[in-house]
Symmetry: C2
Subunit: 367 residues, 2 copies
């Protein structure tokens, strides 16, 4: 049964409306209290409430539909109390579209050697000042509510890609146990935000299946697939999706965490994924790899571009790339001018968002 | 006699039109082949063809009338040949308003121990890769023409603030000798750009007078006062201006190099200065000192701003400061997010440009 929810205007509407399903993927509409998101879509990552090289105006220019921010980082600085007093994350960063908050599980489990795990929480030291903090499923859910998140993520254990089957098994059990606590906490807080469960299980089909089924039994607003794009190869990643997506309820959105390479976006959408986030397009931008709207890419720091007096990408969704020259961007990278980063980041994010726009259009055409 | 020049449209017009002179300063109009600049004005400094934290769109937003770029930096990277092939600096950086290029003298004479000076040129090693370069009055003028500069600056010797009278005397002689070569070179190239002489002489009234008079005899399109804001105190700086400006022809623009502190801008305009440039407003912005449009400033990194959930500057010329909160900017600085720099730089440049706008308006009111 599809979940029904009251929106601000007090009309009843579905959280997720599936418009059509084709061989190219699913086309849908996700309703949050800060507006509707057309799916499939990509979430730009504003970890601590901002993106390197981009203004919020740039995100609007590029028609970003939603942002991702991180509980771990915002809990450490400036703290959820400060953000709540500013009217939540939307008021604090001045972004009125939907915001999804990652729970912080992934970040804390990346702090190797810095943590003590119990059944209720994780004790860790901040990567910035070494201060001790405790975060668990209850705390992570409460914090996300204080941040005013539209899409709250369950606090999960994300094991490293090198983990043994036994470690992954334990992580699945803990993730399931914590998912229950997240759900209970979320329901008590009764805010109009959505809560997504995260499926772990590494590359083990049976563990993924177990995790998916038990999360589905708990009934979340959406299901995320975590623990991928952490070192496995592409076939392995797609293999997991082929196992997991058929298990998921068609009427709920599916979110593949940490994936944002263009051809992978296409392949994953075809397998039924509706949501993505990834820092990769921005990271490679900062190091001079420019994604072009024709599907190719260029290393703008290569000597050949020193004399390339032509627009960076004539058909780019980014105004900067339509007007600035390749030779200019090459120069800015060579002399370490920060404007290089601004141009490159806007280009790579623009092209990634455009890829999703094109995928949505191609699904509609197939209908 | 006022100099006359042919503009593109082949009508005759004055390079500099003095609209009025009051106790608050001079109000004028400087015509270049890339448009008219209302004076007095401030030049944002895009040393290597870009500004840290700001896009060219931001400069348009803030109504910047012209840009300053640097011959020394652009000669090293990417080289004037590359820029000329891109259609000059205007084409290369995609800025269609006037550009003034500094000659590189100041930069080269800042490379202590790295140079060999002769009567015709300076041999130096690049600060980036240590390669040997030669730049003299002829080369610097030719390069600025290749860059397509609207306002070409003479190649001068700028002695350090600690220099002895004897050193300054020598620098004045060399500056005058080089100014002749710059003028000859500029005239041979017969481009529609303007050429400004630079007055040196440290804090010595007689040397300043000598330098000014001999430059005026050579007849330049404008006169710059160099070698100030290099360590002397404010009274000493204003003292030099009080000696020098009365010597300058009223019908030519006067450019005070390297000054951009708000109250100094006002004082210097009152003494008859028409043009300024300075990196200081941007440098302090990057370190968290925010100039406010009410004339005060704030150290946004101070703890008191952690909970200041109010706009950075409600009456700011920068959209970012009107919409973003002080608490948000404080947070961005604390977690080293680059967007902090973008907000702070746009604010400080905006307020500096607005100061000039207000000074122009107040002179007009006095008329």
């Amino acid at each position: 049964m599809e979940e029904l929810r009251k929106t601000k205007s007090s009309t009843l509407c579905r959280v997720f409306e599936l418009l059509c399903t084709t061989d190219d993927g699913r086309r849908g509409r996700l309703t949050t209290r800060h507006g509707i998101i057309e799916t499939p879509f990509f979430l730009p990552v504003a970890t601590a409430g901002a993106m390197r090289g981009l203004s919020l105006g740039d995100l609007h220019d590029l028609q970003a539909q939603a942002l991702l921010s991180n509980t771990y980082h915002l809990h450490l600085h400036p703290g959820e109390d400060v953000i709540a007093a500013a009217g939540g994350l939307h008021g604090f960063i001045n972004w009125q579209k939907p915001i999804l908050t990652d729970s912080g599980g992934y970040q804390i489990f990346s702090l190797r050697g810095l943590r003590k795990i119990t059944d209720r929480s994780v004790e860790f030291r901040s990567h910035t000042d070494g201060k001790k903090h405790i975060l668990g499923p209850q705390e992570a859910t409460q914090i996300q509510h204080q941040l005013g998140s539209d899409i709250v993520m369950c606090f999960d254990e994300c094991p490293p890609s090198t983990a043994s089957r036994r470690e992954i098994e334990k992580a699945v059990d803990r993730t399931l146990q914590w998912a229950k606590i997240c759900k209970e906490t979320h329901e008590k807080l009764s805010a109009p935000s959505l809560l997504f469960g995260i499926i772990q299980g590494g590359l083990h089909a049976d563990l993924r299946k177990k995790c998916a089924e038990e999360l589905i039994a708990l009934d979340f607003d959406g299901y995320a697939i975590g623990g991928l794009a952490v070192g496995e190869n592409e076939d392995e990643m797609l293999g997991v999706l082929r196992e997991v997506t058929p298990l998921l309820p068609v009427e709920k959105p599916r979110y593949l965490m940490g994936v944002g390479v263009r051809h992978q976006l296409q392949a994953c959408v075809a397998l039924g994924i509706d949501m993505f986030d990834c820092v990769l397009p921005m990271r490679i931008a900062r190091h001079g790899t420019i994604l072009l709207s024709n599907g190719s890419e260029m290393r703008i720091t290569n000597a050949e571009f020193k004399h390339a007096h032509e627009p960076i990408d004539e058909h780019s969704p980014s105004d900067l790339s339509r007007t600035h020259l390749k030779s200019y961007l090459h120069h800015l990278f060579r002399v370490h001018e920060r404007y290089a980063e601004a141009i490159a980041c806007k280009q790579n994010l623009g092209v990634t968002l455009k890829t999703m726009q094109n995928l949505r259009a191609s699904i509609e055409m197939r209908k």
